[in-house]
Amino acid sequence: MSAIAPKFKLSEFIKSLLDNAFWAVLLASLIGLPIIQIVLFYIEMPVIDGELLTPFLALTWLADPTRSLPILKAFMATDMFRVMAFPGFGFAALIAAGTIFIERKMLAKLQLRVGPFYCGKIEGILQLAGDGLKLISKEIIIPAKADKPIFWAAPVIFVATAAAFVALIPVAPGWVVADIDLGLLGVFAVIGFFPIITILSAWSANSKFPFIGGIRALFQMVSFEIPLILSLLGVVILTGTLNLSEIAASQSSFPWIVFLPVGAIVFFITMLAELERIPFDLPEAESEIVAGWLTEFSGMMYGLVQLGTYLKLYAFAGLFVVLFLGGWNGPMVVPPFPEELLVGVELGPLTVGPFPGLPLFDQEMLNGTLWFVLKTVGVIFFILLPRGVFPRIRIDMLLSLGWTKLIGLAFVNIFIALGLLYAGVLGPGGLQ
């Protein structure tokens, strides 16, 4: 008999388990299955191997697992998959989660600490899951005099805006959620929403520290947006397009950082400021104003803001890769698929393949994704690195850096681009 549950009886426990199982089966068969049938009736099913995917066919994968591959492949061609899983939210959230862990561990190593260590035996690898569980299970506390609608909406809108930013980043040829003609302008429009959300959430908390942090964030983001936009114009001048996929494709022989290093440096510095990273983390300055504009957030609201911040970090790193480091371009390192996968070979009495639905991705896409992820992780590493090295700078130094030095350098970059264009080195008639 345990001290926690003194009246524990095994028979009662088993009975309660059986009770729960009974109700689960009953509800699933009476409500769940009809709902599935109704939903399957209304949604438009894809045509796979010449036959329409009916609910019956869709469930045949239970008997024959190879049937599930074509269904999976048809699902991967849908917009839903793109938005939720691969180039969209899921992929970005995965990289963001990896970034958080690597950041903590790397910073600890830089500062001769151990960092996350105990959660999950090997070097604290489960620390992130533990933090997530803790955030989800914590109570959400709203300050008494807060402006509740804005305070509730701010973290959600923050994540949504960051996800909209992620949607514009092309990962591999043809693999982008929103392949719009004016992608770069879309990026500028989306970036413009972050200061609004920050200042609104800071104001709505009705507390001093968030408000100070919010005003700092507003100053910083608005003033660094200008050099950010100007520093990217050089690339637009040389490529003659605003479509991010076309900009990435234009760098098949050399990345633009070779010709526009000034623009790349200015963009990197403004990126650090827009992301509120050290040395520009004045909005969150934890040694001065508790946690800046995040002070009053608790529980999963704080978790959402953190998720949004790291999604934004991934999106900015991806934008740097697409604009200056050649996007998905790189030597082909993914080996070609084996013969039996594509056409099938005879091995004595047996015929192996071809497997329907395989390969799920083509070779070009895998290679592009590999190079994009490698470059993005490299850029993220360089974004994280200053945190272990630099102190925070003063706000007047920050503003004078943004308004005087970076804008001037951005104009220098534009003149370099124009010079290359008019000298005939690049652009029409030049290289490539």
């Binding site: 429009a189 413009g192 200061p195 609004i196 200042i199 609104l200 947006e225 503003l399």
Partner: protein, 170 residues
């Protein structure tokens, strides 16, 4: 589809414009103003002008609205405004605005705007650029000079030499 989107955008734009004028809370008023400006960006999207629409978002929602919000947040409302609650004046104002808008709409509809064909291809933003450097070059140069002047002015204003920096230790 386009009609439904048009109607929804109309409701958002006009509704939030009314809200921007009528709401007592200045912050909510400026959020409603953002809704109006965003709705206008939506109209530009409907008109196949995504270039203008994205600039509308980036400049008006992203910068002008932030400026208004920032100004409003630093204002103590009680010190400036005397509250004069008058229901009749409020509804009279809304009614007057509606009458003006309906009148303007009637004039627009009467002006033959319905006969404009709408199935023409969208204008490429590159054409806008080409027009700017060929036919409209004086306007472009004038705008460039004004912008350069304002940027230089902003830089001069931002760089204040007269302030002694007593925090710096050197």
């Amino acid at each position: 589809m386009a009609d439904a989107v048009f109607l929804a955008l109309t409701v958002i734009t006009i509704g939030s414009a009314i809200a921007a004028l009528e709401l007592r809370s200045l912050i909510y008023g400026s959020i409603a103003l953002m809704g109006t400006l965003g709705g206008i960006a939506g109209f530009f999207f409907l008109l196949d002008a995504p270039f203008v629409a994205l600039f509308q978002l980036a400049v008006y929602v992203g910068s002008i609205a932030v400026l208004i919000l920032f100004t409003v947040m630093l204002v103590k409302r009680e010190l400036i405004f005397n509250k004069i609650e008058d229901k009749r004046r409020k509804f009279a104002g809304i009614g007057l605005m509606m009458v003006v808008m309906v009148g303007l709409g009637a004039v627009f509809l009467d002006s033959g705007i319905k006969t404009i064909t709408t199935d023409e291809p969208a204008v490429d933003f590159r054409d806008i650029g080409t027009d700017f450097v060929t036919y409209y070059w004086p306007a472009l140069i004038l705008m460039g000079l004004i912008l350069a002047g304002s940027v230089t002015g902003a830089l001069v204003l931002a760089k204040r030499e007269d302030v002694e920096n007593d925090q710096r230790t050197n």
